[in-house]
């Protein structure tokens, strides 16, 4: 189930819909409620989708007036609707305040990339940047990008199927890296392995250039030893 991956304790979930055939834009609240129901977290819900609001201020007032002792989940109207009622700056600040607020459990936002006007086309990217979970839905598959607070980031791709009641996902296999094939023993006409006895015997053999101990050169000069004052190798460029 998709809800297993997105109904978590990560605050901001952005659904980026690029599918063009799913009715996300119209029934987003129903989708989210379905996911929450699957996880048994349908309580303490604040659905802002169908609230008549003329500006972001109305929405934030609604959030503020809701005083519940327990943290609640917020379903925001889709980004398309938000952009109709207010400017990007206020939307970003509002979503950020929800994200930082301790009385909010999770925030769901839908951004349908195809419905955003061209001059505001940066908005989906901005909000995805702020989100902890980004679900990008395309025609055939969906991918979930999840940012943990510790700094780890994962992106997984799934195929999805919607039947009457739930949205099933199945993980696409990531590029399987070829396993190392077992090395076949090469057949050869001689014996290459050593028995234990032979190994010991071999190690015991002293080899000509082997270092056995720390060696020092001990030299006692004779009385009539003749030392050159000058460097005998001076003419050589060494």
């Amino acid at each position: 189930m998709l809800s297993n991956f997105i109904v978590t304790n990560q605050k901001l979930v952005v659904i980026s819909d690029d599918s063009q055939n799913l009715p996300f834009e119209r029934f987003f609240d129903r989708y989210v409620k379905m996911w929450l129901r699957e996880q048994g977290k349908l309580d303490n819900l604040l659905d802002l989708c169908n609230i008549k609001a003329l500006s972001i201020k109305d929405l934030s007032n609604t959030v503020e007036t809701r005083k519940s002792p327990e943290p609640f989940t917020v379903i925001l109207p889709s980004l398309t609707k938000l952009l109709q009622i207010d400017d990007p700056r206020n939307i970003i600040q509002f979503i950020n305040s929800l994200k930082k607020s301790s009385s909010v459990r999770q925030v769901f936002l839908l951004s349908t990339t195809t419905l955003i006007p061209h001059e505001l086309s940066f908005m989906p990217t901005f909000l995805e940047h702020m989100a902890q979970i980004v679900v990008s839905v395309t025609k055939d598959d969906l991918s979930i990008l999840s940012r943990q607070s510790g700094g780890s980031v994962t992106r997984k791709s799934y195929t999805y199927k919607i039947d009457g009641k739930e949205m099933l996902v199945k993980q696409l296999k990531a590029l399987v890296i070829k396993k190392e094939e077992e090395v076949k023993p090469v057949e050869h006409p001689f014996k290459i392995k050593l028995e234990e006895e032979e190994m010991l015997a071999r190690n015991a053999v002293k080899l000509p250039y082997e270092k056995t101990s720390e060696a020092d050169i001990i030299y006692t000069p004779d009385a009539d030893d003749d030392f050159d004052e000058e460097d005998p190798d001076e003419d050589l460029y060494i």
């Binding site: 400017d87 970003i92 086309s121 901005f126 940047h129 700094g151 980031v153 994962t154 992106r155 590029l175």
Partner: protein, 340 residues
């Protein structure tokens, strides 16, 4: 390097700084030895170091912590400004300084019996590093709050570009002449800074210009991280214009969440590091790093920048057919095994 040195008057060095070996300018450490190395030993006083953030703002934050920690340890004043990160949270998580790099203690490799002379050879280390001016930090451990108490840290976490500049201008005036102020601004220009499209581009450029003017006038260094990937969406021209205003520009291109994560060639690294700009300040020639093929990884205890190299090919190639090397025909062509 030759043993000749220009005779210079020994002026009293500002604590935590040093004169550069390349051009004699006063430099300070970024806190991370490998980042210092690729910048030519450190950041010059009065310059602006721009870090172009990785898409998920993981690694740039690590570097910011290094930068602040270095300031705390070398007893410099700090200014931290950000709308995205809570200053208190970030300052709590500064890495702890460690005495000496434990890696330098030579690990004894198994003794070689015959080729024993090779035992003495140093191990190859592709990590970028060298003479150090800063301290070493362990990102696994955190600095105690007592260390922080003594240092002079100002923070800013609410407002607009103009308010930040005002605050900064006040702060630099309090810095004494024999001290350095470190300015660290993280996620500058992130969505939370956004106002209006045109205004926003104008604001951020104006801000950086004024910031640079402040930097040049006082003993300051600035470390600014900017999410370039987002600003690109607003205006493509904005990216080169911002780079132009910085003195150093380093781009962190992480693999996290992309397909490159699973590519075997990149397995060892967390991302590619691109040097976008190294400028010459008060000199004619900029420092030229040995290589620009750099990759970074976040190890358990530290963030390292290495020369990028491909891993050894241990597995058989995908198509063994392609691998047959055309050889001089000695035992017939197309055969894989050699005939004796």
């Amino acid at each position: 390097m030759s043993s000749f040195r220009k005779r210079t008057q020994e002026t009293k060095a500002i604590p935590g700084t040093r004169s550069s070996l390349y051009n004699g300018q006063t430099i300070a450490s970024t806190g991370n030895p490998s980042l210092d190395h690729i910048l030519g030993g450190g950041v010059q006083i009065g310059s602006l170091l721009l870090i172009e953030e990785d898409p998920h703002v993981v690694y740039s934050k690590v570097l910011a912590k290094y930068f602040l920690a270095e300031g705390v340890v070398s007893k410099q004043s700090l200014f931290f400004g950000s709308l995205d990160d809570e200053p208190e949270d970030l300052l709590k998580k500064l890495p702890k300084p460690v005495e000496e790099d434990s890696n330098t203690s030579s690990e004894t490799s198994p003794d070689m019996r015959i080729a024993w002379r090779y035992n003495d050879l140093p191990q190859v280390n592709s990590e970028q590093g060298g003479q150090k001016i800063g301290h070493h930090f362990n990102i696994l451990e955190q600095m105690s709050s007592e260390d922080l108490k003594e240092s002079d840290i100002s923070t800013w976490s609410k407002g607009s570009f103009s308010e930040l500049i005002k605050k900064l201008a006040q702060k630099v005036k309090t810095v004494k002449e024999d001290s350095v102020l470190r300015i660290c601004l993280t996620s500058l220009g992130s969505p939370l800074w956004y106002s209006e499209n045109l205004e926003f581009s104008k604001d951020i450029l104006k801000f950086l210009t004024i910031l640079r003017a402040i930097l040049r006038t006082y003993n300051t260094i600035a470390f600014v991280t900017i999410p370039m990937g987002l600003l690109e969406k607003i205006d493509e021209k904005l990216v080169p214009r911002i780079r132009n205003l910085a003195d150093y520009s380093i781009q962190l291109d992480s693999f996290a969440g992309t397909d490159r994560e699973t590519v075997p060639a990149f397995k060892e690294y967390n991302g590619i590091l691109n040097i976008r700009k190294l400028s010459a300040l008060n000199t004619l020639t900029a420092f030229n790093p040995e290589t620009t093929d750099l990759a970074f990884k976040l190890r358990r205890k530290k963030f390292v920048i290495e020369k990028f190299h491909l891993p050894p090919e241990l597995q058989d190639a995908e198509n063994p057919q392609d691998d047959i090397v055309p050889s001089l025909s000695c035992g017939g062509s197309g055969k894989k095994s050699l005939d004796f």
